[in-house]
């Protein structure tokens, strides 16, 4: 059983200043990941970049268009930039994915809870990601790989729609070259040129090698995928308090005031996005929430 205070105590303090006022950042690098998805590296125009923990998010502000909550997908060890992988799904995210190098962007954050990567030391780690859900998990992956000796077996299980939709393809290949971790990729649909797995990502859980009694699972993806993944983890014997999910809701204020991201008695922006499954299990099955 993890104590809430242990991981929280290690989290960086909230950014100083008025949490409603964005700081100006500059787009340093852009990498096109998929036709509708880019990764931006941004640096503050003044002052140091705030610290963050794997799993936290920022509110990115496209000036004159709007603001959107985006998980941080970079390496916490890099203290210079924020890295965000953004998919064009609406007006604000479209404006952000259309930015050029050198453009300005507003940033509030970092906000929210973190993956329990420190509390999980000594345990096996199973990371289950679906689609763009790999982005919020990438900082946790960087952390466990950089501190490999502190963990038991590590399994990274990634599912996506089609081989052409594969996020971070080069990095997945690089992680796979590590001889002491397991990286499995599956796609929902493929043509016959694809020689890898076809099927849903929860099915990979049954094939993965880990000690269910001493495993911490980190799960991020579409909510229905996470439901199936949790079922597969529970079937494998992983306890509910060892399963952590990154929840997604419509976050606006990001500090637990406005109520847009209310999830039962909790706010995803403040009490999440990373939530322990046993604490939200009763809400997870409620369709109206």
């Amino acid at each position: 059983m993890f104590t809430e205070s242990a991981e929280m105590a290690r989290m960086p303090p909230a950014a100083s200043g008025d949490p409603f006022v964005p700081r100006i950042y500059c787009v340093d690098r852009i990498r096109r990941e998929l036709s509708d998805t880019v990764t931006l590296e941004i640096t503050p125009s003044q002052g140091p970049r705030p610290r963050y923990a794997p799993g936290q998010f920022n509110m990115l502000y496209a000036f004159g268009v709007g603001e959107v909550a985006i998980s941080i997908s970079g390496d916490c060890a890099d203290d210079r930039t924020f890295v965000h992988t953004v998919r064009d799904v609406g007006a604000a995210s479209r404006a952000i994915t259309s930015l050029d190098v050198g453009a300005a962007i507003g940033v509030r954050g970092p906000f929210g809870t973190a993956w329990p990567v420190t509390d999980a030391e000594g345990s096996d780690i199973v990371i289950v990601a679906g689609g763009l859900g790999l982005a919020p998990l990438r900082p946790a992956i960087y952390h466990v790989l950089a501190n490999r000796s502190r963990y038991g077996r590590i399994a990274i299980l990634f599912g996506t729609r089609h081989p052409q939709d594969m996020l971070y393809r080069d990095e997945l290949a690089a992680w796979r070259r590590n001889l002491d971790i397991s990286v499995e990729v599956t796609v929902d649909h493929a043509d016959r040129d694809w020689r890898g797995n076809v099927g849903v990502v929860p099915a990979l859980i049954a094939r993965a090698s880990f000690d269910p009694h001493d495993t911490v699972a980190l799960v991020c993806g579409p909510e229905i995928m996470m439901r199936f993944a949790v079922n597969a983890l529970r079937d494998a014997g992983v306890a509910p308090d060892h399963i952590h999910l990154s929840m997604e809701r419509n976050m606006k204020c990001a500090i637990g005031l406005c109520g847009h991201c209310q999830f039962g008695p909790q706010f995803v922006c403040k009490d999440g996005p990373v939530m322990r499954f046993d604490r939200i299990a009763s809400l997870f099955a409620v369709r109206e929430i």
Binding site: V89, G131, L132, T160, D188, R192, R195, G221, P222
Partner: protein, 152 residues
């Protein structure tokens, strides 16, 4: 026969299977080897045999006229290929193709159906193993067709 019995006993599908019934199943079993690209069976053919994968990867393909085949699932060692042998009219409804070298045990369907009919305990043991696999695959297929990674 002893060799096949041992192989069946070690296969995940038969974990915990009663010893005497393993011997009955082994009487319907034979070894197979499929090279990459070779078909275990094709859609529309009689479902005369189902397979326990020992080594390699098998893709389940569906073809539609004028379109290249779509891979709907891949199966790995420890898994089984094929359930149409259980249900009349005993015909395959998809292609099963070896993605790489596959070693498998084939179980003769008519032989096993006959033994299950004669020994309902054996039939029930087989059903207890097949039903959860079919339910899991049905659930997975439902998740697959939802296109959960598309834009909401």
């Amino acid at each position: 026969m002893k060799g096949l019995e041992r192989i069946l006993r070690e296969h995940a599908f038969f974990a915990g299977f009663p010893e005497d019934q393993i011997a009955l199943v082994a009487g319907c079993a034979r070894n197979h080897r499929f090279d990459a690209g070779q078909y275990l069976f094709r859609e529309g053919e009689p479902a005369n045999e189902f397979f326990l994968i020992r080594h390699g990867k098998v893709a389940l393909d569906i073809a539609s006229p004028g379109q290249p085949p779509i891979v709907m699932s891949t199966l790995e060692p420890g898994e089984i290929v094929g359930a149409s042998w259980l249900v009349p009219p005993y015909r395959w409804t998809f292609d099963a193709r070896a993605v790489e070298l596959v070693r498998a045990i084939g179980i003769d369907a008519a032989c096993l159906r006959g033994k299950c009919e004669a020994d309902h305990h054996l039939g029930y043991e087989m059903m207890k193993r097949f039903a959860p696999i079919l339910v899991k695959r049905l659930h997975a297929t439902r998740l697959q067709v939802l296109n959960v990674y598309g834009k909401r």
